[in-house]
C-alpha cells in the first residue's frame, strides 16, 4: 500500500491520526507526518482515514473498496 498526503490541502484536522495512529501522527500543533508505505495490517484503518479526511488530502492505492484507489496492477477500469 502506498500513500501520499497533499499537505497543501491538509488542514491538520488529525482525523487520520485518530483513525490510523500507526500510519499518521501529528508533529507539533499542525504538521502531519505519515508512513508512505504502511504494512498491510493497516489496510482497513488506512481506508477509513482516507474516507474520513474532510479535505480529501490523502491518496492511497492498494486499499480495496474505496472507489478511486486501485492497486497498481489492477486492470484499467475507466
Amino acid at each position: 500500500m502506498r500513500l501520499v498526503v497533499d499537505l497543501n490541502k491538509c488542514q491538520g484536522y488529525a482525523q487520520c491520526a485518530f483513525l490510523a495512529p500507526d500510519v499518521f501522527a501529528m508533529h507539533g500543533e499542525e504538521s502531519l507526518v505519515y508512513d508512505p508505505q504502511p504494512d498491510h495490517e493497516q489496510r482497513e484503518r488506512l481506508a477509513r482515514a482516507v474516507a474520513a479526511c474532510p479535505v480529501q488530502a490523502i491518496t492511497a492505492d492498494g486499499v480495496d473498496g474505496h472507489g478511486a484507489f486501485r492497486g497498481p496492477e489492477a486492470p484499467d477500469g475507466h
Partner: protein, 463 residues
C-alpha cells in the same frame, strides 16, 4: 470538437514523457483518464518507479518512513512502456525523436518534458567527493544521510538555510544530533520569505539548539587522510569540526540534454506558454512539446504575467494535469495553468505554509497572531495588492488569503480580522535580499518581462 487529426492522436498517437517522477506520473495518469489510448513511454534516469520527495527531508530523516519505500500511489493503471535507469540525451524537434543514453531512440507525436531539477553540488569536486558530504534530492541521498544520522555523528554541518537545509537541521536536533547551519544571507529562509519572517525562523532554530551562523560563506571542506570530511572552514576564519556535511544550496534545472535542440531551454528552465507548450529558442511556441513541474517556467496572469519557476509539489501535480489535458486537445478546449502557488514545510515542530509569490512582495503585514509567539499569518503586498501570505501554525487562514490574492484585494490589509494585534496595523518592509546577490537559491524564481514594469528599457548593443 476534436478534429480528425486529434481523434487519431488520441486513438493511436505516440506520447513520450521524459522524467518519471511526480509530474511525469501524474501526467501519464491524466492522459489515460482523458481517453488517450495510444502508445505511452515514460523515460526516467533514476532506476526507481516514481517516488515522493518531500518526506525525504522530513519523515525519512525522523525515522518515520523508510527512504526506499516512498513510491507514489497510482491513481490508475497507465499501461506505459517504462524506460527506467535510462537518461534522455538529446532531442530532435524536427523528426520528433528523443535520444536515449543506451543508444535507443523514442519517436513521439507529443512530448512532455518533466525532468525537474537536481541538487546544486558543492562546487569544488574533490571536496564534494569526501566521505560524509551529502546533497538531498534523491532517495539514495536520503538513505545515505539517514544512515549517518543514525550512527550518531558528532556534528552535522548544513550549508545553506533554505527550506531543505532547515528541515535537515530540525531532524538532526530532534534526534539529539549537534548541528551547525551556515547561511550567506542574514537569516534562514530569506530568499523565500524575506528577512522579517527569516528572523522568526532564526529564533526558532537557535531555541532548538542549532548553532546558526549567518552572513558567512563556507570557504572549504577539509578531509582527513582516509578521505572523510572532518572540518568546515568559514569566511569569518572560523573552523567547525563536523563528520557529516549537507550541501543545501538550491538546485539546477535538468535542461542540459536539450542543448542544441532548438528548444528555449536553459539554466532558468524551459519557458512555456500558459498552456504548458514549450517555446523554441526564437520564442515561438511549439505545438507538440509540453513542459511541467520544477523544470518549467510559465507566465501567470495573477502575478503580472511574470514567468514563474516553482519548485513546489502541488505545482508539479497541477501543471502535469494541465499539460496532459492540452496535449490531446485542440485550441479552444485547452486549459491555462493558473495554479495558485502554494508550499508547505515542517520544521522544529512548526507547520509553515505559503500561498502566492512572497518574493514579489515589498511589504509585509502580520495580520493574525504575532511573530513572537511563532504563530502568525504574514501578508505580502506589491503595488497596493495582496500577492502572498505565509503562515506559521495558522493554516486555517491561508484559504482566506488565497481568495484575497485571486481578487486582487488591496494592500495594506484594511479590515480588522480575527486575532489582529494593535502593533501590526502598519506594513513593514518584507526585507528580501537583492535578487542579484546569490543566496542558497529560493524555491520560486521570478523572471521575464512584466508589462507593469515601466522601468524596463531595451538597450540595443553597440558594435
Amino acid at each position: 470538437m476534436a478534429t480528425e487529426h486529434m481523434d487519431r492522436l488520441r486513438r493511436e498517437g505516440r506520447i513520450a514523457i521524459v522524467g518519471a517522477s511526480l509530474a511525469g506520473l501524474r501526467a501519464a495518469e491524466t492522459l489515460r483518464a482523458e481517453g488517450f489510448a495510444g502508445e505511452l513511454t515514460l523515460i526516467g534516469d533514476e532506476p526507481y518507479e516514481p517516488y515522493d520527495r518531500p518526506p525525504l527531508s522530513k519523515a525519512v530523516l525522523l525515522g518515520r518512513a523508510d527512504p526506499l519505500r516512498t513510491e507514489l500511489p497510482r491513481r490508475r493503471e497507465i499501461d506505459a512502456k517504462w524506460r527506467l535507469g535510462v537518461a534522455a540525451t538529446g532531442l530532435d524537434l524536427t523528426a520528433g525523436r528523443v535520444r536515449l543514453s543506451d543508444g535507443d531512440e523514442v519517436e513521439y507525436d507529443r512530448l512532455l518534458i518533466a525532468t525537474g531539477v537536481r541538487a546544486r553540488p558543492w562546487p569544488r569536486e574533490s571536496e564534494a567527493r569526501l566521505d560524509g558530504v551529502f546533497v538531498l534530492r534523491t532517495r539514495d541521498d536520503a538513505a545515505g544521510l539517514y544512515q549517518r544520522l543514525r550512527a550518531g555523528p558528532r556534528r552535522v554541518f548544513v550549508i545553506g538555510a533554505g527550506f531543505a537545509g532547515c528541515e535537515v537541521a530540525s531532524a538532526c536536533r530532534e534526534q539529539g544530533v549537534q548541528v551547525t547551519v551556515a547561511e550567506r544571507a542574514g537569516a534562514p529562509l530569506v530568499g523565500a520569505l524575506g528577512g522579517v519572517v527569516g528572523a522568526v525562523a532564526a529564533d526558532l532554530m537557535r531555541e532548538h539548539g542549532v548553532d546558526l551562523r549567518t552572513r558567512v560563506t563556507v570557504t572549504a571542506l577539509e578531509g582527513d587522510a582516509a578521505g572523510r570530511v572532518r572540518a568546515v572552514h568559514l569566511s569569518d576564519e572560523s573552523v567547525v569540526e563536523a563528520d557529516v556535511v549537507v550541501v543545501s544550496l538550491g538546485s539546477l534545472r535538468n535542461t542540459e540534454w536539450l542543448n542544441g535542440s532548438g528548444l528555449g531551454a536553459g539554466p532558468r528552465g524551459i519557458a512555456c506558454d500558459a498552456g504548458c507548450r514549450a517555446f523554441d529558442f526564437r520564442g515561438i511556441v511549439t505545438d507538440d512539446v509540453f513542459v511541467a513541474g520544477d523544470v518549467a517556467r510559465s507566465p501567470h496572469a495573477l502575478f503580472e504575467y511574470q514567468f514563474l519557476s516553482l519548485e513546489h509539489w502541488g505545482n508539479a501535480v497541477a501543471q502535469a494535469e494541465t499539460a496532459a489535458h492540452n496535449m490531446i486537445c485542440d485550441g479552444a478546449d485547452r486549459h491555462p495553468h493558473l495554479w495558485m502557488p502554494a508550499f508547505w514545510s515542517s520544521q522544529f515542530g512548526v507547520n509553515i505554509k505559503s500561498v502566492g509569490v512572497p518574493p514579489m512582495g515589498e511589504e509585509l503585514m502580520i495580520t493574525q497572531g504575532s511573530t513572537a509567539e511563532r504563530r502568525f499569518v504574514g501578508v505580502y503586498g506589491h503595488k497596493g495588492r495582496v500577492v502572498a501570505a505565509v503562515s506559521f501554525d495558522n493554516t486555517r487562514w491561508l484559504e482566506f488569503y488565497q481568495r484575497a490574492i485571486e481578487r486582487g484585494a488591496p494592500f495594506p490589509v484594511e479590515h480588522p480580522t480575527l486575532d489582529r494585534r494593535p502593533e501590526n496595523r502598519r506594513p513593514v518592509p518584507a526585507d528580501f535580499p537583492d535578487p542579484s546577490l546569490p543566496t542558497h537559491g529560493p524555491m520560486v524564481t521570478l523572471s521575464g518581462y512584466s508589462p507593469a514594469d515601466t522601468q524596463l528599457v531595451f538597450h540595443p548593443a553597440r558594435h
